[in-house]
């Protein structure tokens, strides 16, 4: 019995392998060359862009997609992925480009320097900055809250049921870069970091606080459309110096200002033709990105509609991105 079972298993395994090979062509199957089954459904050239969960990233992609489709005749697929898995997907060729990266030194070392499967695509033109923010209406009542040294004084007012006896520092998505737990500890602050778990949850909570003019302290970042709806003032942390954040346990300084970067799959960068050339040249400003982001997030336009509106008004800007 045992032997028949084993030989049956072996036979089945062999049959499966043969069938798989027959179905997909002979020989080795390259894991780095697999397109989406939905791509090229109408026989067109397709570019796949990765979208991260924040609206700024959606805005980049929407505009790039609009121009690729309407000016260059490509079909664009978008895939929403978190930042770190996006690097992995980029190296495998599942996506062709990341348009906005906030700095992932480990991934850069592995995929650009060691494996050479990813190539730099240059600056996006937007500078990102992470920080701690309080609503401006609160900062105006208590101007000294904007210095971290005075934060402990306000812990009582910033308490919530979730933060227990301490003040609440609201953090967001698990995919975002954060040193907040270490900062609270190393700066000896009477605060509890509460992770909202997703940006959607964090924004919803901030809006609810703002509606009632309640004070809050939150991890947040620029550029971000929410500033237009809920004006926020940054809390000064000990100044950032090169290398002060290398040891994640000992961080006691502010977050840096990061010129956001684009990255392309190496094979796409070399053989992607007009699309690759266009994505390398794509470069705009914070204000422009916010324009589009606000249309998406607040006016609830579809990203495509928002991109179309922006493109109509800013032809001079995007003409320069097109390959000559």
């Amino acid at each position: 019995m045992a032997r028949t079972t084993r030989s049956a298993v072996l036979a089945a395994a062999a049959a499966v392998s043969v069938a798989l090979t027959a179905l997909t062509g002979c020989g080795a199957a390259d894991m780095t060359r697999q397109a989406s089954p939905y791509a090229d459904a109408k026989g067109s050239r397709t570019v796949t862009l990765s979208v991260q969960s924040w609206v700024g990233a959606q805005a980049n992609v929407a505009v790039a997609q609009y121009l690729l489709e309407h000016e260059l005749g490509y079909r664009v697929d978008t895939v929403q992925i978190d930042e770190v898995p996006a690097w992995d997907a980029l190296s495998q060729g599942r996506v062709d480009a990341i348009l906005e990266d906030w700095g992932h030194p480990e991934q850069e070392k592995r995929y650009i320097d060691e494996k050479a499967t990813i190539e730099r695509g240059g600056d996006l033109g937007v500078t990102g900055h992470i920080g701690w923010f309080v609503p401006t209406y609160f900062a105006e009542q208590h101007p000294d809250v904007t210095d971290w040294k005075n934060l402990n004084k306000y812990a009582d007012q910033l308490r919530t049921a979730e933060s227990g006896g301490k003040g609440q520092l609201l953090d967001g998505s698990p995919s975002y870069v954060t040193n907040d737990k270490a900062l609270v500890k190393n700066l000896d602050l009477d605060y509890q970091v509460v992770f909202a778990g997703s940006e959607a949850a964090q924004i919803t909570q901030i809006k609810q606080f703002a509606k009632e003019k309640k004070p809050f302290l939150s991890y947040w970042y620029k550029p971000q459309w929410l500033f237009e709806r809920v004006p926020m003032t940054e809390v000064k942390l000990p100044a950032y110096e090169e290398g002060c954040d290398t040891d994640p346990q000992k961080v006691a300084c502010a977050y840096p200002h990061t010129p956001l970067q684009k990255f392309l799959n190496a094979r796409f960068a070399a053989g992607g033709g007009d699309a690759a050339a266009f994505l390398k040249k794509f470069r705009w400003t914070t204000e422009m990105q916010n324009d589009v982001a606000l249309m998406i997030a607040e006016e609830k336009l579809s990203p495509q509609e928002a991109a179309a509106r922006w493109a109509k008004k800013n032809e001079a800007t995007w003409r320069e991105w097109l390959p000559s």
């Binding site: 939905y38 697929d77 898995p85 997907a89 495998q92 940006e199 949850a201 924004i203 919803t204």
Partner: protein, 667 residues
């Protein structure tokens, strides 16, 4: 009603299977033993109390000792590095996994192209005719309505992408599950080996294994399909095994006596006899697969799930709902059609059955070709209705008016605050304050009171494994949230269930609402729960209650309704009031159903822990999400394993021993 208990939360899932042996008969042993058995409950409590005192004296208080835990982060990191470094060159990937991945892509693409080629008219016609042949005119009309709504919502293409993915994933699940079920149905040893494997496959939170799947296959459809199969194959395997095992012994014996070989017996007697279970298995697989549609979008599956997920990024409930509704509609149509197919099995086929099938195929072809000739393949953009705006307006109004300052009752934010301060915090602090060995002892004693020695051992071992994994504290935090959410779910669920059982009209009105809650992707109500309850553990509990409530209501209602009418009648004739009837007859007699409801409530609440992590629930749920977002196998996988252990423990502790009689599917 039949199998509609099931959308996404089948009573056969997770655990319905691990039936325990009944307590040993009490009337055979000698006198002392008999007395002991009779007072088993009290005895266990007494022993536990003694052990508690002893433990305090010998072991002292404190958390799980560091010396008893194992740090897996090193090996797990090395594994993930190895995969990334070898993925493009190692033979395992080149000659096996790569082909698996290609086959998935090719099959999904093939189905998708066929659907596109049929055009919207063709697909709708095919669905309607199929429903008509299998289930009658009413369901045919429902299918047409469902597909038209998908188009109207502007979701035609994503719906087709999801459908293509579902077809392939369900086919693979049915195939794999069927094979496993066949093995388990024919061999007792396989049955025993497979049971814990299937348990684990289903309790394991999808988020935890998305990460390894992504590491191996990369972002995209292959990973999504495989993750879905892991989740959707177990019900098929269980029901297949059950069908084979329960096949009427008389018939099987008759075919043996006619000299049939093993294979003939299987093909001519046992499999045909198990048709009902097999179809129910297909039905369950479809429901589970649809439940994964949105979660799989996190790793780039595309389709409807991706639309829901992207809508979340711009905090747009309306858009998320517009993509969520087609998922619900697909679930309803597929569920009703497969259920109807299951019911009709065994009926004599109609005379002109073949003719009608041919007619159906012909009409589909004509419609598809007609649409192609008229160049109407894709859904016309003009025929769409925007529901996002009104929905968002409604959500805004609701949250603006309920969040705080409601006269007398206070706002939802206040409730959430009180719930956190007065229920969640004490519960969490209490559990974390308990010495680790006392927790193990309590778990063991509870499991022993309800189940057997074996269930108690499993429960204790599962709990100990959490300590060994080094996540004792967050696990107890999660446990406190689960317990609180389950309590609320049961209070609401029992009340609603009893009410629905006593009033047919209410029961009928509740049914579609429950359907929607069970199949609507949980991501859709992430934002509303935060808008109502703020960020934290309270909204996580709310999301869990919404998800687990339908199953509890259904099982309760069914149990109360099924109470022997003779017993009720005799109570009535003795002059019992409605209240007395309920408390003294219906509820006691429905006890097995209520116990099952408790068990399902626990398991389902736990299934939403990860979703809770997305709204501030923290603890294990957050760790699982964090692991996926940061590509951190060590955090994500350990958290996932701990959730599995919690699930096993809770299931064993709440496992009613009579379940087999109740559901009749203890595969």
């Amino acid at each position: 009603m039949t199998t509609t208990v099931t959308p996404a939360t089948p009573d056969s899932t997770t655990t319905a299977t691990t039936t325990t042996a009944p307590t040993p008969p009490t009337d055979t042993g000698p006198g002392v033993l008999r007395t002991l058995t009779r007072h088993r409950g009290r005895l266990i409590v007494a022993c536990a109390a003694v052990a508690l005192v002893l433990g305090w004296a010998l072991l002292g208080a404190g958390n799980w000792p560091a010396s008893l835990s194992v740090d897996l982060s090193g090996p797990l990191e090395r594994t993930s590095d190895w995969i990334i470094d070898n993925r493009d060159g190692h033979p395992l990937f080149l000659y096996f996994l790569g082909h698996v991945s290609n086959v998935v892509v090719i099959s999904v693409r093939a189905v998708y192209l066929v659907l596109l080629a049929l055009g919207w008219a063709g697909v709708t016609a095919a669905a309607a005719l199929l429903a008509w042949r299998v289930a009658g005119v009413r369901l045919a009309l429902t299918s047409v309505a469902a597909f038209v709504v998908c188009g109207l919502l502007g979701m035609w293409v994503p719906t087709m992408q999801t459908l293509a993915l579902m077809v392939v994933a369900v086919a693979a699940s049915v195939l794999l599950g069927g094979l496993l079920g066949l093995a388990a149905g024919l061999s007792d040893r396989m049955h025993r080996i497979l049971r814990p494997v299937l348990d684990t496959m289903q309790v394991l939170p999808a988020f935890a294994y998305l990460l390894p799947v992504v590491l191996v296959f990369g972002i995209g459809v292959p990973a999504a399909v495989l993750a879905t199969v892991v989740y959707a194959a177990p019900p098929m395997a269980r029901l297949t095994a059950l069908g084979l095992r329960d096949a009427d012994a008389g018939v099987v014996e008759a075919s043996t006596s006619l000299g049939a070989t093993g294979r003939q017996r299987l093909l001519t007697a046992r499999l045909p006899l198990a048709r009902k279970e097999l179809l129910l298995g297909v039905n369950q697989s479809i429901m589970m697969a649809l439940g994964m549609a949105v979660i799989a979008s996190v790793i780039g599956a595309g389709g409807l799930g991706d639309r829901v997920y992207q809508a979340l990024a711009s905090v747009d409930v309306g858009a998320a709902l517009a993509a969520g509704v087609p998922i619900v509609l697909l679930a309803v149509v597929l569920d009703r059609v497969t259920a109807a197919a299951g019911q009709r099995i065994g009926e004599a086929p109609a005379d002109r059955s073949r003719l009608r099938w041919a007619l159906a195929a012909l009409v589909t072809a004509v419609v598809a070709v007609g649409a192609r000739l008229l160049d109407r393949l894709s859904w016309p953009d003009a025929w769409t209705v925007d529901i996002a705006e009104p929905v968002n307006a409604a959500v805004d109004w609701m949250t603006a008016h309920l969040y705080s300052g409601v006269p007398l009752v206070g706002g939802t934010a206040d409730w959430a605050g009180h719930f956190t301060t007065w229920v969640l915090n004490p519960l969490r602090d209490g559990l974390q304050w308990l010495p680790w060995w006392a927790v193990l002892l309590t778990v063991g004693a509870l499991a022993l009171l309800i189940g057997t020695w074996r269930t108690a051992a499993t429960a204790v071992l599962a709990m100990a494994a959490i300590g060994v994994l080094g996540v004792w504290d967050p696990a107890l935090d999660t446990l406190s949230q689960v317990l609180a959410a389950v309590t609320v779910t049961l209070l609401l669920g029992f009340a609603l269930g009893v009410a629905a059982a006593r009033s047919t009209r209410l029961g009928r009105a509740l049914r579609p609402v429950l359907d929607v809650f069970q199949t609507m992707p949980q991501f859709v109500y992430l934002i509303p729960v935060v808008a109502l309850f703020g960020v934290g553990r309270a909204p996580a509990a709310a999301a869990a209650v919404v998800y687990a409530l339908p199953a509890v209501v259904r099982i309760t209602a069914q149990g109360v309704r099924a109470v022997d009418p003779a017993a009720l009648e005799s109570a009535r004739s003795m002059g019992a009031t409605g209240r007395q009837q309920l408390l003294q007859v219906q509820l006691p007699l429905a006890r097995p159903a209520l116990l099952l409801a408790v068990n399902q409530g626990v398991v389902l609440v736990l299934a939403v822990v990860v979703i809770g992590g997305l709204v501030g629930g923290g603890a294990l749920g957050y760790d699982a999400v964090f692991g996926l977002a940061q590509g951190d196998l060590a955090t994500g996988l350990v958290a996932g394993a701990a959730i599995v252990c919690l699930g096993l423990m809770l299931d064993r502790v709440t496992q009613p021993t009579v379940r087999r009689d109740l559901t009749g599917k203890g595969a």
